[in-house]
Each structure stands twice: as C-alpha cells, then as structure tokens.
Point group: C2
Chain length 386, copies 2
C-alpha cells in the first residue's frame, strides 16, 4: 500500500428535504451568487426550493452555465462576483455547474493577470471563495471533491484544476431530484461514476485489499441499480443508491494508497473538446481500447474485477481479463451508450493525431499508472476506438 | 436509505515515515502537551520519533493515561494544560490515550462547574482545544472520529461523549508501529474493529446497498488479515490493511444512511467498568448472546452477512443466520479471545442485575436499533453470556 493523506472537509447533507438546511449552512450575512445551468431547475421545482431556503440572504443569480463549463461564460459570472461584491457561491446543478463554480471560487481570489493561468499553468488553489452546492445530477462526484474541469471553445481546450481550497463547504444531495432526470443523463451518470472507479482501481495489484473491495462495492452497486434507475428514476431507494455511488466514486477515498490511471479521462477530454460529445460517452469510447492496449499490465486487476464484479468463475487470468473488458463495454451499451467514435461522428479520420498533439501541447505526455501512455500511444488508442 | 450528514475534517496521514510531518501539521507558535500511556512508546522508538518531529515547538509531556482512560488521571492532565497555558494537544497512543485527549480537548474549554458533567449530562462538544494524534494501536477508530469514552473507577462508570468539535485536526497512522504490538493487543484490535462494523451493519435491511457492501468489505478484509497480522505483525502490507480497516470501521462512513445498534457496546461497557476486562473482549462476550436474543429481528442481515463475509451458500435464512453467529464467535475464539463471562471471572452471579441497574441509572433504557433493549432485556443477554 502506498502512503496517502485523506482530507475531505465537505459536509455532505444527503436525503429527502435537505435543501431547507441551506438556511443554516450559509453564513447569515453573506451575499450569495446562485449559479445554475440551462434552466432545468425551473422545471423540477429546485429553483423555488432553493430560493425559499435562501430567504433572508441577499441573493444574485447567474444562469446559463453550460455542459462542459465554458471559460467565456465563467468570465461573465466572475464580473458579476466582483461588481456585486459576492462573498458566497451556491452552485445548483450537476458537475458542470459545480466545476464552473469551483473555477469561480478560485478566480475570485486569484491575483494574477489572467484567470486562465489557473488552468494553463496548473496553479493549485489553496484558498477559494467559500461555496456550497445543491446537486441536481449525480455523476461526476464534484460535490465532494476539490477538482474541476473547464473548457475553452476558441482553443478546443479542456483542462483540469484543483487544490485543497476547492472543497465545497457543504453539498446537498437529495435523491428526489433523480426522478426528473432524462434517461440519457442517467445513463451518462452511471457510466461516468463507473469509469471513475475503474480509473482508480484498474492498475496493478498493490495489496490494498480494502481499497479494492470498496471500489468493487461501488461498481457492484452501480451494476445492480443502473437498469432500475434508468427504468424508474422515481424509486427513491434506487435513486439514493445511485446518487451515493456517484459521490463515493470520486470523493477521494478509493484512490488513497493505490496507483491511479486517469489516462482514459485525459484522452477522452480531447473528444469532448473537439466534437462536444457528452463526457461520459467519451469515456465509454476510449476505455475499452485503452484496456486492450494496456492489457498485459492490467490483466491481474482485470481478472480480479471479472471475478468480483461480474461473477466470472471460469478461465485463465487472460480469459477472465478479456471477458472483463467485454463485460464493461456491454455494460455501457446496455445503457444505450455507444462505444466507438464513428458512432458519434463521420469526421474522425485524422482526429487521433490532432488529439495526440493537443495532449503534447498541454504537457500530458506521460499518462497512466506507469507514465507510459505517450501522445503516440494515445494516438494508437484513439485509432483503436474509431 | 435514511437521511444523513457526513462531515469528517480530520486530515488522516497514513504510511511509513509520516510522523515527521507533525512539524508542519502543528502551528509553529503552539505550546504542545504530548500525552501518552504506560511508556510503550519509549520502547518502540515512537517517543523519540515524535519528539524529533516536534523540534522547534515548546513541548510539555504528560504520561500515564491508562487503558480505559480514568477521569482522575485526566483531571491531573487538565491541571497541567491550565498551569502551562497549553494550546495544542498531541495524543501519542491507542484509543485510550486519544479518547482521554478528546476529553481534555473539551474540558480545557468547558466553562461549567465540573468537567464530569460533559459525560454525565451528555454535553455535545462544539468547539474543543485543537489536537492531533499519532496512532500506536489500531483498534478503536478514535483517530478519525469525534467520539470518546471515559471511565471513573470510584463510581464504576464508563460513559461516552462527542461532538463536531472533537475530530482530531490530523492523525498520523504509520503501519510500522504494528510490528511491536503484542499478540493480545492485535487480537483485541481486530475484534474491536470487527465488532464496530457489526454494530453499524447488523440491524435490518434498509436498501442501503453501498453501505452494506462497504461494511462487508471491511469485515472480509479483517477476516483475511487477522491470522496474518497476529502471526507476523512485521509484514507491512498486512499491517497497513489491518490499520486502515480499523480506521474505516469507525470513522463515521458506514453508519451513514442506516440504523445502528450499539447495544453490544453499551452492555459490554458495564463489564469493563465492573471487572476491568479489555474492551474488545467484553464485546466478544456480549455479541453472541445479544444476536441470539434479537435473532428474529436481525436474521435477514445475519443471513446476508453469512453469505457475503463467510461464504455460506447453503440453507434457509434461519440456518444461515445461526451459522453467522457461530462463525463470529469462532472468529473471536480463533484469536484466543474467550466469549463467556465465566472465562474472565468466577464472581459473575448477580452481575447482570447490577449492570441493568447501572444502564438504567445512566438513562440507557432503550438500546438497540429498535430501542427495545431495556435494562431487563440487557440483564437477560448478560445472563445468557455468563
């Protein structure tokens, strides 16, 4: 087991009717900027519930944070924060709104020339403007971690940021929001969370037995609830298990003491940056190819995963490991998520080279748990996924 | 799944050589009281390592906190804190030293007449004196939670306290300390952590699938590492898994969203208060009787536990559930922990009645997940365990 530090001060407030607690969770004298996305919260009742819970606070609103939060949009929100002298941010949304809010938390206190530098120069945020979240879409785990990803259309960039100053002070997770989420988003949420676990688990054995078993627990539970939540998102207990799995998949716990991969994410980000494909779907495109390419280095863990998550009892390590990749691809497909780039665009020839160049340009030249996924290897993996 | 709040701001610093980080974890201008127990840290090198890491800080020492930390001893430490104007506490020890330090953290800022009231009147500590820990004995999980138990010999009392102000600011868990722990203490540690999980898990099904699986993960890992760590505590990876299981068993995570029992602990505390038997061993005495007595209400979860932790595949729910209790009792016994009160004392007649009275006196009249374990029921359970 590797050395680690586990620190996560987010107060996670989970369950029915918890939104009302916002009143006591935000300091009474704060001036709050409430941030949200395309307005789905105005249809599902969350907008009214949140405003009611904020009664007594001075509140300014900023709407329109899009999926894959866009730098230019966030600059507009930053201007509002400065003009209105905001001192508390409240994200009401999914991973994109929360990630955008994290960027703003950092940018609001950033003293450099351009806030883009936080992303481009990978500046760690030690102190940000305090913020909370009301989660509307379980998927990314952003509600209980200190990382964020921001996109910039003009340059086809999608970059990550983070730091101990970017944990939400609180996050409200009410599983009742799940019942209004469209099937497509539910499938994306399951695929996203499931892939998060795999990125932290699917490396090589390091005798971190408890971490392995907890990762397997999250995946087993997701496999169990996925068809149910997609079929009937109004089933509260199913929705609650789905939501809790998504948070636990990326709140830092299962990565402690183990090597992690994350090459699938880094390569897949290029697809979203270039084609605008949903984040979760880009993961489903890249992961099978990445695992086929890294097969020899991952086969022990692939076989363990086959046994414990997919109940594969027969076969050699190699056979189990191959079946593991197959089962994973089928799992994505069972949720109507296609796993080839050509399923999403006809214009894929030559993309692998461009993506490899982009990884190189951003200093992402040694990806994966062994640091052996160079831009050239990434190019091959993408081509295998065409 | 029940509503819950998960909040745990402890910075857990895990691994080899992490003690040196104390230097940066304690504010430079603090005056530190270093608390420890009977002096085992002077034999295993931790005393020197800790003092070396504290170089540059003003340090006062307080030794002699005993197993089941005693109120009278802690009052002496409290006097030192006040005389010496201490503003940071550092516990170097196991659960007893850490629990004692938590009491001191609370008592140091308590403004009432007698600090015993914190325990007797169950006063929740919202703000305590800041403290950190260096764990020397994996078992209680106290290094990453906000609870403590303090004993008072003169009145045969053993009472619990807690509150959000009692999380350690940091805890150093270096698995290398495990190699110097005597077999008896290692067995106690496994039994303690295992029973902690059972107290949070063994109630009734509530569709909290992920929580169930994480609890089972901890128990599976403990079953796997128990014989190995007792046979060879110098095996680092085994020691690390043992240590991490003990922390995860009681850092608050697995109790979220589920009912919890804790009646075994409450009843077992009476045995320690009366006879001074090791805490872990009192749990092993009470648990089988408690589960036999509550069999009908616990049998579904007992059967699930039999299947998933003990790989029992045959039989009815009742048969599996019975086997589950048997396997648990055998697990304690496999570590040389006896599971009857008469194995520890000849003077047990009449104790059940006294213990029941003591529970009553302390307002512990409705124990268990259904609140149906009255002092009369507790009396029966103890008699079953004679």
């Amino acid at each position: 087991m590797k050395n680690f530090e586990l620190y996560n001060p987010t107060n996670l407030v989970f369950g029915k009717g918890q939104i009302a607690k916002i009143k006591t969770l935000i300091p009474a004298d704060s001036k709050v900027l409430m941030l949200y996305g395309g307005g789905s919260i105005k249809k599902n009742g969350l907008y009214e519930q949140t405003l009611a819970a904020l009664e007594g606070h001075e509140v300014v609103e900023f709407a329109g944070i899009e999926a894959n939060p866009e730098y230019q949009t966030l600059l507009k929100a930053l201007a509002v924060i400065k003009e209105e002298k905001i001192d508390f941010l409240l994200a009401v949304g999914g991973g994109s709104v929360i990630d955008g809010t994290k960027f703003l938390s950092s940018a609001a206190l950033y003293e450099g020339d351009s806030p883009w530098d936080i992303l481009a120069n990978r500046i760690r945020t030690v102190k940000g403007m305090p913020f909370g979240t009301v989660l509307t879409l379980p998927a990314t785990g952003s509600e209980m971690n200190s990382g964020a990803v921001v996109s910039r259309k003009e340059t086809h960039e999608k970059l990550a940021m983070g730091g101990p100053g970017l944990f939400p002070q609180f996050s409200i997770c009410d599983p009742e929001v799940v019942r209004t989420i469209p099937q497509r988003q539910l499938a994306n949420g399951v695929a996203d969370a499931f892939t998060h676990v795999l990125e932290q688990y699917m490396t090589y054995p390091t005798n971190a037995h408890l971490q392995d078993r907890i990762s397997e627990s999250i995946m087993q539970t997701l496999v169990e609830v996925a068809p149910k939540v997609i079929a009937d998102p109004s089933n509260y207990d199913v929705a609650a298990n789905f939501m809790w799995c998504c948070t636990m998949a990326l709140n830092g716990l299962i990565q402690k003491g183990v090597p992690t991969d994350w090459s699938v994410h880094m390569i897949a980000h290029e697809i979203t940056a270039h084609y605008g494909v949903d984040h979760a779907r880009t993961l489903a495109i890249i992961l099978p190819s990445a695992y086929h390419h890294q097969f020899d280095k991952k086969k022990e863990k692939l076989a363990q995963y086959a046994e414990r998550v997919w109940n594969v009892t027969e076969g050699t390590v190699e056979e189990k490991a191959k079946l593991a990749i197959e089962k994973t691809e089928q799992f994505y497909q069972s949720m109507n998520i296609k796993t080839r780039l050509r399923d999403y665009t006809e214009d894929y020839e030559g993309f692998a080279g461009k993506a490899a160049q982009s990884l190189k340009d951003h200093g992402l030249a040694k990806l994966g748990e062994h640091g052996d996924i160079t831009p050239e290897v990434a190019k091959k993996i993408i081509e295998m996924a065409y």
